[in-house]
Every structure is written in C-alpha cells, then in structure tokens.
Amino acid sequence: MKNINVYGSGCKNCTTTAELIEKTALQLQVEINISKVSDLQAIMEAGIVSTPAVSVDGKLVHSGSVPDQQKVKEFLS
C-alpha cells in the first residue's frame, strides 16, 4: 500500500495527474491510497515550488507538470 499525495490548488492539471496515477495503479495492480492536497500551508510545508506535485510515502517524486505515464509507472513500482 502506497500513500500518494497530489499537491495542487485544484487546477485542471492536478486533477489530470491524480486520474493518471489512479489509472496506472489499477493497470499495475498496485494498491494506493491517493489524496489531493490543496491546503496552501500544507503545500508550502511540503517544500513544493511548482504544482502539480506528487509525493509517494512522504517523498517528493515529481513537480511542475503532469507526469508522463512512464514516470508514473516508475514511482509506483
């Protein structure tokens, strides 16, 4: 079980990112617990400068764009 946070202010790119991760996890049959973080203070405390950003089990793995599927596979596996 991986805990995944998608950080973003709720813009379209952030939703797309979350959907992509859910879809990919389903394909790879990885169990995930995904949550969207839009609280500004939480985003700041995570040290994020550009959104959408993704963390897996507390570790920041991507920021600044919608990741491509290859990258999502890498950090899910």
């Binding site: 950080y7 973003g8 202010s9 813009c11 379209k12 790119n13 952030c14 500004l40 203070q41 985003i43 700041m44 040290g47 994020i48 400068v49 550009s50 959104t51 950003a53 920021s63 600044g64 764009s65």
Partner: protein
Amino acid sequence: MLDWFTYFADWLTYSLFNLTAGSRLAGAVHFFIEDTSKILVLLLVLIYLIAVLRASLNPEKVRYYLQGKNRFLGYILGSVFGSVTPFCSCSSIPLFMGFISARIPLGVTIAFLLTSPLINEVVVVMLGSLLGLKFTLIYIAIGLSLGISAGFLIDTIKGERWLAPFLAAQYKRDDAIPEIEHVHKSMTLVERHQFAKKEMLTIFTRIWKWVVVGVAIGAAIHGAIPDAWFSEYLGAGQWWSVPVATLLAIPMYVNATAIVPIIESLLLKGVPLGTTLAFCMSAVAVSLPEFMMLKQVMKTQLLILIAGYLLVALSLLGWLFNAVNF
C-alpha cells in the same frame, strides 16, 4: 523570408476570395490571413528552439539561484528569470510560497511574478514578427524595469507587513534559513528534444486560439474603425488618454498572446506608442482572476499597492513614450 506570408495572403484574398484590393473588407481579411499564418508558423518553430535551450530551467532551480543573493542583484535576476522560466499560471501561488519560505526577499519574488506574464517566448516571437526588433527590445526593457522597480519599491516600504499571516510568520522566522538542496541534472540532447516537442505541442494547443482571437480583433480595428476616430479620442493631444487607457485595461483579462496583434493595429491606426503600450501592458500584467488567486497569500493592501504602482508606472511610461518620438 517573411514576404512569403504576404504573398500567401495576397493570393487568398485577391485571387481565391476575389475581393477588391483597397476595400475595407479586403484590408481586414488580408491582415487576418497574413498575421495568423505568419505567427502560427513562427511560433511552432521558435517555441521548439527556445524550449530546447531552456529545457533544464525550472522554478526549483530558479529558487536555488535566487536564495541568499544581494538584494539589488536579486531584483534584476528575479525579473530576468521571470521572463524565461516556464510555469503554469496555476503554479504562481505555490511558487510564491516556495520563494517566501526560502526567505527570498518579497520584492525579488514580486519582480519574478510581475515580469512573468509580461515577457515570455511567445510574446517576444510575436512582437518580433509583427513589430520588428526595435519595438521588441523596448518592450522587453520596459517589462524588466517594471518588475525590478516594483521589487525595489515593495521591499523599501516593507511590503511583507501585508503578507497573509501564515506566510508573514514564515518570512519573519529568524532561525537559520533552510538550505535548499538542489540536484543539478544535465540533460542529453534527446531529453531536450522530447521536452521541447512536448512543450511546443502544449503551448501551441493552448495559445493558437488566442492568436486567432487577437488577430481577429486587430483585423476588425484595422478594417472597421476609421483612423479619424483614433486621432480624435486617443491621440497624443489629450494627456488624460494615457491613465484612462491604463485604468480601462486593468479589469480586462487578456493573454499576452492576444494583445500583440491589437498593439500592431492600434499603432497602424496612429494611436501614439505610449498610449498603446500603457493600455496593452496593463491588460496583460493585471488581471482580476490572478488577483483573486493572490488574495490567498497577501492582504488586500498589498494587492492595491501593486495595482496602484502599475497604474502610476504605466502612465508615466505612456507619457514619456508619447513625448519622445521613437
């Protein structure tokens, strides 16, 4: 080389559509075809080339470079980075907070954020192709100075008083500034190509409609409104036309991409350079949606201050450019 687009527009307008040369309609149609075809082709090529060059630049890297710099160098760097760093406008809030929590001076952050919508590769390409090199350089110089002086002003009057409380607390903390770790990755040519290709497609699909809208408005101004109207209401004779134009443009939410063909049209109609610049830069730099977003991280006083600064600075600029004939 750019003549090709004129020939192409000639052929479409006069041969294919069979419009009479010299009529207003033909003028507007010709203007529209020439500008859209020229801009779209140039954008595709140049966005790609620029993206290859700046592939490894991102907000994290900029923050790393800006941290702990001398204040004045910081304003200049902030502005320059603001113009070359790509980031989605929905990112401006996290970026703002990220800079503040790294205790980069508020002014430097403001310089970055203010320059960013004014100058970017798309605007530069469009200005260059429609209005020529001299105008483009003037525009860039103004954009950078607006950012630099805003940063200086805001730090001088201690603008951090008006940050949202949770950020103000973060900014004032006097424990050691957190060192930012930054891993420099070098990119291979293939990675740069992939980044550039993606960037080109994303930017292009996002902005082509802005280009069409902007050129259509430009063409409408070009074909429908008589020159006399402009010289009567927007000529250099009326001093008040500059601040009024700036003020009118504030609530407009216009992408910088759409504004360039409008600039071209206004200038062709004989609207003075200063008035045109003030109107257009104000439309691009300040937008209500952006301000609503920034409201989450700063108090109203600071927002009003920034809007007021732009109104004054752009009016001064407008008058200056109207007085000095370029």
